[in-house]
């Protein structure tokens, strides 16, 4: 089960590029954590492209977007470049899916994660979340409204 609203958001520090780590603690403002099953899958690609295009709406409200999947940092790097995705993609790769497990969205049987969105507030609590069916791209409206509700 995905973590409930009001729960403290588990801290993490993951590779965003092959030589750079990103930690939740680095961000002062709200964070939108975008768990997606895998780089290169068609639904994930559309979802991330929509968030990337919408990133200025999130930035205007002081929020940071972070994508996260079980793919490795080199894979993320190629994917980001090919799709021109404008926010970090974190590698929940070693140990595989450890952060997804903390957030309750790891899919043990197939080794990927749910398609899940978490909005984390300034106090590092989960303010909003949504788990979508794997084949349905949720769009960015719910997360945007949740970020706006924080300010």
């Amino acid at each position: 089960m995905a973590l409930d609203v009001g729960t403290p958001a588990p801290e993490f520090e993951l590779l965003a590029t092959p030589d750079q780590r990103v930690a939740l603690a680095e961000f002062d403002g709200p964070v939108v954590l975008i768990f997606y099953p895998a780089d290169w899958s068609p639904v994930c690609s559309d979802e991330l492209s929509v968030f990337s295009a919408a990133s200025k709406l999130f930035h205007a409200r002081g929020a940071q977007l972070l994508g996260i999947s079980v793919d490795g940092a080199w894979c993320h790097e190629a994917y980001k470049e090919q799709r021109n995705i404008g926010f970090p993609l974190l590698a929940d790769f070693n140990p595989k899916g450890a952060v997804a497990q903390l957030y309750g969205v790891y899919r043990e049987h197939d080794g990927t994660t749910e398609r899940a969105l978490f909005v984390i507030d300034r106090d590092k609590k989960i303010a909003w979340s949504e788990v979508s069916p794997l084949g349905v791209n949720p769009g960015a409206d719910g997360a945007l409204r949740a970020v706006e509700a924080l300010s």
Partner: protein, 178 residues
């Protein structure tokens, strides 16, 4: 929850074809450089033919500029042509020629559709087309648009296949159950 509902109702500022009292309103959020939108273009034409006066069609801009470097400029030029009453001519021309949307080509299409190039340039410089495209874009995001193209039928996001057969069946089912 993301509800996938059209957040900006169809209004007098929209680009609309078809009767106002049509029982079906199809809104497309599209990107002129997106190949899927290019594939959807003749399908929408076919649906308009099939459903005739039962369907009105609305086009709004949803350029995914990170992936499609010419999409924003193409959308702005279409809006600028629209100020001269040539929106649909430009819309059709851009989709028919979507592999060639660099700046010189865009200006050529302006002439082709019979709009005044100098006026288009002036209007582009005024920033009004850009504001319109940005407003469309924000409306798309707030409506839960989840890719290009995203379709809304009578206000609800359509997540099914937009190839002709299933899309036509969906529209016919709505008509049958209204």
């Amino acid at each position: 929850m993301s509800d996938g509902r059209l957040s900006v109702p169809v209004g007098s500022d929209d680009h609309v074809v078809g009767p106002e009292d049509a029982r079906l309103t199809l809104v497309e959020y599209g990107d002129y450089q997106c190949p899927y939108c290019g594939q959807a273009f003749p399908i929408v034409e076919q649906l308009r033919e099939t459903f005739s006066d039962a369907l009105r069609f609305v086009f709004r801009n949803f350029p995914l500029a990170d992936m499609h470097p010419h999409a924003e400029a193409a959308a702005e030029v279409a809006e600028a042509a629209g100020l001269q009453g040539k929106f649909w001519e430009m819309h059709d021309t851009l989709y028919t020629n979507q592999r060639h949307l660099e700046e010189a080509a865009l200006l050529r299409y302006v002439t082709d559709v019979g709009a005044d190039v100098d006026q288009v340039s002036k209007d582009l410089a005024s920033g009004a087309p850009r504001q319109r495209v940005e407003a469309d874009f924000e409306g798309a995001i707030r409506s839960g648009a989840n890719g290009t193209p995203t379709f809304f039928v009578n206000g609800a996001r359509y997540d099914g296949s937009w190839t002709y057969e299933p899309f036509a069946k969906h529209l016919q089912d709505l008509l049958d159950h209204q």
